[in-house]
């Protein structure tokens, strides 16, 4: 039912607009004012327009469009349906905040010329947009790989540093591998129809084996991009390497776009319903969530910490997806819709909150030049805007009500509670484990975020130079405010947001959860007796009680407030060095989960004049999975050299033997 094309055309125009903005930057590649102060805010406005188009498109029907590019038989097909619209909102709204922040963020004299950076940045945005809109395999892959490529260039914009080069290389390699797997999955998915449009793929009938192949290929392909364990290794390298707005987009949006790919593939295009797909996804998601959060807890670099936290969140999203698949396979569409809603909701939440935090770290980085947690501290005094806005993101990621992170976790746990209705004992047994794992990850996330926020913004400055730190500029504040407002609104009006999301669940699963009760402030996706949560009331309650308490205290209390030095155990003054470091804060986690880490400790000796303690945490998967693969490739490469020893007689012999072998074969 193709309606008017207004929203889709608008979205395409916005994509083209982003590309145009990028190209305009090349007019004056070194013109900082031109690129940053004019073009980036324009891009931000386009982001808002895109989000609006997405919201409008949700209530309209499906729109399709064919662009005259690509192969003659396979021009680029575009389609805007509810699922795409949800991700358009995500992309547009996040990009709006990030772009306006970036307008104030870029400074002269850093890495790539600003014009070029602007081009890469906007190509990145546009390619993500077209990934979401693509309706045939070629257009999808084209946009998908452009996304990888442009983000690669963004990651390597500081290419003089060897570790950034390494990160970029790893990133593009994994991205490319994943893309190849996705291409293959499309190849299987078209089921011999030779039609590469998604329309044809929806109609294709696949055997369960082929369908499972598609599922695994797509899980590998999109999982590599999303950063699920064990394909996550590139993520903590690449995300921190990029400039902060780019990290924000990569972590906040690109990972979600990968999730979009998986949703599109497995819920829309692929019709097979094999229950253990969901179980595999769920298991991987749990593993990823726990793995990510554990590693995040022991990081000492703030951006790496956030990157690992992104891995955790992707894990949570995968858990939701797994639940959706399980429910769908057992023909429980209403519950599947609930789980899917949780998944989509978490995507939105993560996009806003993680972008906000990455931007916050960007401001900190700019103000202090420091990303090591061990050298920060006390910035709430110097940078109140960043600190208070980052607190919102921190609480959101930590899953604290009434912020948005909690809503999706709440929904996810609610959907876990429906698993006993699945007529399968094995799953019934495993799901409590899943729920437990999820809650554990969520609780650890709170630990992690306390560490993140407390060490950066609270306490005393650990270095003298932090006293010169300054708060971010007004453009950056707008960006941070926008995203923080998103976190709060998503947290307080879940019923309204879910009403939007339900278009997508209706479209994909032909079911929603009971809609009539979503109006107003009450949020009861099943029934108010079953479960209810009203964040607005919650927030109102807390705020009212805080005010009340303050009021009462003000009336009842007449003492004065005296400022003094903190208590130094009587005798000596406290120095910033006495504070807990990030290593120290992560120490309990390290101790409890020691078997999962591979640690190298440098302990100080008692006679050391300048005692030095260092712990290096490594991913065991490197040694177990990646190093063997690399050394295997190298061994084979060494072995292949043997056929080329430079002797012409041997070469002739090869020809001769080849000839003889073929002749014998033909004979």
């Amino acid at each position: 039912m193709a309606g008017t094309h207004t929203e889709l055309l608008g979205a395409v125009d916005i994509g083209a607009g982003w590309l145009a903005i990028g190209l305009l930057g090349l007019l004056r590649p070194r013109g900082m004012a031109w690129v940053a102060r004019i073009l980036f805010p324009l891009g931000s406005l386009l982001g808002i327009a895109l989000a609006t188009a997405g919201i409008l498109a949700l209530s309209h029907g499906v729109e399709t469009l064919i662009l005259p590019f690509g192969l003659p038989e396979l021009p680029f097909h575009l389609r805007l349906d509810a699922l795409a619209a949800v991700f358009l909102i995500l992309l547009g709204a996040t990009a709006a905040g990030v772009s306006i922040f970036a307008a104030g963020y870029f400074r002269p004299g850093e890495g790539t010329a600003p014009g070029l950076l602007g081009l890469q940045y906007h190509v990145f945005l546009a390619s993500m947009l077209f990934v979401v809109l693509a309706d045939d395999a070629l257009a999808f892959m084209m946009a998908w790989e452009s996304m990888a490529l442009s983000s690669y260039f963004l990651v390597t914009s500081q290419h003089r540093l060897p570790e950034i080069r390494k990160a970029g290389y790893l990133y593009l390699l994994v991205a490319h591998l994943g893309a190849a797997a996705i291409v293959l999955s499309f190849g299987v998915l078209q089921g011999g129809s030779w039609q590469f449009t998604f329309e044809a793929m929806r109609a294709a009938q696949l055997s369960p084996v082929s369908a499972s192949v598609v599922f695994f290929l797509s899980l590998f392909g999109f999982g590599a991009k999303a950063g699920i364990v064990p394909l996550h290794v590139w993520l903590p390298e690449a995300h921190p390497a990029a400039p902060s707005p780019v990290s924000a987009l990569m972590s906040g949006v690109m990972l979600e776009i990968a999730v979009y790919g998986l949703l599109r593939m497995n819920l829309d295009l692929l019709h097979g319903q094999v229950w253990w797909w969901g179980l595999v996804t769920l298991g991987l998601g749990l593993l990823t969530a726990l793995y990510g959060v554990l590693f995040a807890a022991v990081q000492t670099d703030m951006k790496r910490l956030l990157a690992y936290s992104s891995i955790e969140n992707i894990g949570i999203i995968f858990v939701g997806l797994g639940l959706t698949l399980i429910f769908r396979a057992f023909h429980l569409p209403a519950f599947a819709a609930l789980a899917l809603a949780a998944t989509l909701y978490h995507c939105l939440n993560h996009a806003f909150a993680k972008s906000l935090l990455f931007l916050g770290t960007g401001s900190v980085l700019h103000a202090t030049g420091e990303r090591n947690l061990g050298r920060l501290g006390g910035l709430i005094h110097r940078m109140p805007w960043v600190a208070w806005l980052a607190l919102v993101g921190t609480l959101a990621i930590a899953g604290i009500p009434p912020f948005n992170g909690f809503v999706s976790e709440w929904l996810l746990l609610q959907s876990f509670l429906f698993t006993p209705s699945i007529p399968h004992e094995f799953i019934n047994m495993l799901l409590p484990l899943g729920a437990a794992g999820l809650t554990l990850a969520a609780a650890l996330a709170a630990y992690l975020m306390v560490k993140f926020y407390g060490i950066i913004f609270l306490g005393q400055p650990r270095e003298a130079k932090l006293a010169q730190a300054h708060d971010c500029g007004w453009l950056e504040r707008i960006g941070l405010l926008w995203l923080a407002a998103g976190c709060v609104l998503l947290g307080i009006f879940p019923a309204q947001v879910l009403a939007l999301i339900s278009h997508a669940t209706l479209e994909l699963l032909h079911a929603t959860t009971a809609p009539p009760l979503w109006h107003g402030l009450l949020f009861a996706p099943v029934s108010p007796e079953r479960a209810a949560y009203s964040p607005a009331l919650f927030l109102f309650g807390i705020a009212a009680l805080v005010c009340l308490a303050m009021f009462i205290v003000r009336i009842a209390y007449h003492g004065r407030i005296r400022r003094a030095h903190p208590w130094g155990c009587g005798g000596f003054a406290l120095t910033p060095r006495m504070q807990d470091t990030s290593e120290g804060f992560g120490q309990p986690i390290r101790q409890i989960f020691e078997p999962f880490f591979s640690m190298r400790r440098e302990l100080p000796s008692p006679f050391d004049a300048a005692p030095h303690y260092r712990v290096q945490i490594e991913d065991r998967l490197w040694r177990w999975l990646y190093v063997p693969v690399v050394s295997m490739v190298q061994r084979i490469a060494r072995a292949t050299g043997a056929i080329q020893r430079g002797r012409i007689s041997s070469y002739l012999l090869y020809s001769f033997v080849t000839l003889l072998v073929l002749l014998i074969w033909v004979l």
Binding site: F69, L71, M142, R160, R165, Y169, A180, V183, I648, S655
Partner: protein, 483 residues
């Protein structure tokens, strides 16, 4: 007429430049002659477009939808390479790597080489095709050893002997094919080797003889294509010659050799009523890709690296042609086109980089981006294009090939993936290190002449997002023709 001009211009140019190539204006003359060839090719293309297959000289020469775009491509790359070599060879003369006499040799042989390529592509006679292929070897062997270095001579010798032997085997295959055909078409006259004639009667040709013939032809022409394990001459020859020569070797000669194989395959597949020819090509293609991918990991020399990459891509194209069918053939033709454009541009850039840094060793080339942004970006973008990243055209062709493989021959996909992944990791690892990084102390920096490079990359980019209707029609017609 157009065809006559197409062949006559480079041949006359070869004679002319062979006599006057040491003059100061000779490189410009070279470019001018190539431009004239290009014009003739465009003219010819236009007439093919208007009238369909064009015959010439009583059917001895013809251009159909399969060869027309290769002719155009050859003329185009011939022209851009001539443009590139204008400045490149001047720098080589300035650096006293070659003298005036050898400049004459270079220019004369360059035109001769273009002539043999065009002859091979336009000939309807399989015998003439063979003669032209051998002629191409002869023309380039002296170009490979142009610098008269020990390594150059060694490479040229290997090139000569291996390709000579290979092409001799191809002659045996041609004889066998003639043998099979002469029974049907009569040995009188020369029709029995005309491809168009053979194609009409291919169903009646003796399957056994043709299978045998195909083995010889495949091993023979396959040596020139660079199929493993017959590829050993290729990296040596590509690495030791001047950059423009590497560019045309990789961009044109390999294509033409593959063209010859595919022409033969059509006949054999039609006669043998079996998938033998296709299977052989697929097997060789996969083996070539995989082996080349692993060999890429070992490379230290920038031109050798890209030479192995050519081997790998020829493997991919051979595999695709082996699969057959409209989509795979389409993809293979597109792949030939975009690979030629991309790889020749990469050799231009590699030559530039080597001139700027004074070495072909990759570990000594660092931070091209700061040394010369245009060279750095050209290398980076070209590499990404050749590695199959969109929006470049190589991506489109590889996409189609992968998707066809997964549908028709799922067993081959692990090999394809392995080869693509290993090749990607190897090439990108090296190139990133060369393009990025801290800049070394000042090195030689002659003026860049990368217009041809960016023209090529622009074309590849265009083919990635948009294929002109005419080109697509040729591809489709050719894909139908090839079965």
């Amino acid at each position: 007429m157009a065809m006559l001009l197409l062949l006559a211009i480079p041949l006359a140019g070869a004679l002319f430049l062979g006599l006057t190539g040491n003059r100061r204006w000779a490189p410009e003359g070279n470019a001018l002659i190539s431009a004239a060839t290009l014009v003739a090719a465009i003219w010819l293309t236009g007439s093919v477009d208007a009238k369909g297959t064009v015959f010439f000289l009583g059917g001895q020469f013809f251009v159909d939808s399969f060869s027309v775009f290769l002719v155009a491509l050859t003329a185009l790359i011939g022209f851009t390479t001539a443009l590139f070599s204008r400045s490149y060879m001047r720098v080589e003369v300035q650096h006293a790597r070659i003298g005036g006499g050898r400049m004459r040799l270079y220019l004369g042989l360059y035109q001769l080489f273009i002539f043999t390529m065009l002859l091979a592509l336009t000939s309807n006679n399989l015998g003439i095709l063979w003669v032209a292929m051998e002629g191409a070897t002869l023309a380039t062997v002296l170009l490979v050893s142009l610098y008269h270095t020990a390594a150059g001579i060694e490479a040229a010798w290997k090139y000569f002997i291996l390709c000579g032997v290979g092409i001799a085997l191809a002659l045996f295959g041609t004889v066998l094919m003639y043998f099979a055909a002469s029974k049907l078409l009569g040995s009188q006259g020369t029709n029995a080797l005309l491809w168009t004639q053979l194609e009409q009667v291919r169903g009646q040709l003796d399957a056994r003889v043709l299978s045998l013939a195909f083995v010889f032809l495949l091993v023979g022409y396959g040596t020139k294509v660079g199929l493993a394990p017959l590829h050993n001459w290729l990296p040596d020859a590509h690495a030791e010659g001047p950059a423009p020569v590497s560019a045309v070797l990789s961009g044109l000669l390999l294509n033409v050799a593959l063209y010859a194989v595919v022409r033969c395959k059509v006949l054999v597949a039609g006669a043998a009523h079996s998938a033998l020819a296709g299977n052989l090509m697929m097997g060789f293609g996969l083996l070539t890709m995989t082996l080349a991918a692993f060999l890429l990991w070992r490379q230290k020399d920038i031109k050798r690296l890209f030479a192995y990459s050519s081997v790998e891509h020829m493997g991919i194209a051979t595999f695709a042609f082996g699969m057959g069918g409209p989509v795979a053939n389409f993809a293979a033709l597109l792949h030939m086109t975009v690979h030629s454009l991309t790889k020749s541009s990469l050799f231009f850039t590699a030559g530039e980089a080597a001139q700027k840094t004074g070495t072909q060793l990759m570990e000594k080339i660092r931070s091209l981006l700061t040394l010369s942004p245009s060279t750095g970006w050209a290398l980076m973008l070209g590499t990404l294009a050749i590695l199959g990243m969109p929006p470049f055209g190589v991506f489109t062709s590889e996409f189609l090939i992968l998707i066809t493989a997964v549908r028709d021959h799922p067993w081959s996909t692990p090999f394809l993936l392995l080869a693509l992944a290993v090749a990607f990791s190897a090439i990108f690892f090296r190139v990133q290190a060369m393009v990025f990084g801290e800049s070394p102390p000042s090195q030689l920096s002659p003026r860049s002449s990368l217009v041809p490079t960016f023209v090529h990359l622009g074309l590849v980019l265009m083919l990635g997002v948009y294929i002109p209707l005419h080109l697509a029609q040729w591809y489709n017609a050719a894909a139908q023709l090839l079965g």
